[in-house]
């Protein structure tokens, strides 16, 4: 886990398969404090549905999904 310039926690789960990226995110969220922002990077197609669904269900906030070459960055704010 590394922080970017904006202190966002980056979880690079590229190359890992469903539900790997989601599990990385859950692990990251558990370790983060409320109000902190995290980014999980995933090249797995299933994440595009799985991750937003989980964020909503768990009561956090999806700030955005950024498409990159061969992967997507899911930006999440831990709310509680």
């Amino acid at each position: 886990m590394a922080a970017s310039a904006s202190q966002r926690i980056i979880l690079d789960a590229r190359g890992s398969f469903c539900p790997g990226p989601l599990m990385e995110l859950i692990r990251g969220i558990r370790q983060a404090k409320a109000g902190e922002e995290l980014e999980v990077w995933s090249s797995d197609q299933g994440s595009r549905k799985d991750i937003p669904f989980w964020i909503q269900k768990a009561g956090h906030q999806l700030l955005g999904v950024v498409e990159e070459q061969g992967y997507a960055r899911f930006i999440v704010k831990k709310l509680k």
């Binding site: 890992s16 398969f17 539900p19 692990r27 989980w54």
Partner: protein, 138 residues
């Protein structure tokens, strides 16, 4: 009512052990408890040393099984066992050995992989599964 996923793991082939690990992960992601009841070939899959060397695939798919295994290895998919170890660290996942298979095969506690929590009978498993949630047979 308990929010719980109960899995009867009867099969010991890798292709069926993957869904065990993946569904257990999904359940933990949703905050559910997971109860795994390993019986028959499913218990053999948890014999000490087996997770590291078991490469068995369903024999009904000789044209797909070995190819899928190669693809998974090439793409560095973690093994079903490593996934289960990880998900056990993250949530409340219990792995029970079926007492009948255990006795029939004259197993001892040390014959089983340490990921197995205990040995229970079908009645106890069904009673736990019956407390609520989803029960699946694999």
């Amino acid at each position: 009512m308990a929010d719980r996923l109960s899995l009867v793991v009867f099969s010991g082939t890798v292709d069926k052990l993957y869904p065990v690990a993946i569904m257990a992960s999904g359940a933990v992601a949703l905050g559910q408890d997971v109860e795994i009841f390993a019986t028959f070939y499913g218990l053999e899959a948890f014999r000490k040393g087996s997770p590291q060397k078991n490469m068995k695939m369903d024999v009904n798919y000789p044209e797909i099984g070995p190819m899928m295994m190669k693809v998974m290895m090439a793409k560095k998919m973690p093994s079903w066992y490593d996934m289960l170890v990880k998900v056990k660290e993250m949530g409340n996942v219990k792995i029970h050995a079926c007492a009948t298979t255990y006795d029939l095969m004259d197993m001892k506690k040390e014959d089983l992989d340490p990921i197995v929590d205990d040995v229970i009978g079908v009645t106890e498993f069904l009673s736990r599964a019956g407390e609520g949630g989803i029960t699946l047979f694999l």
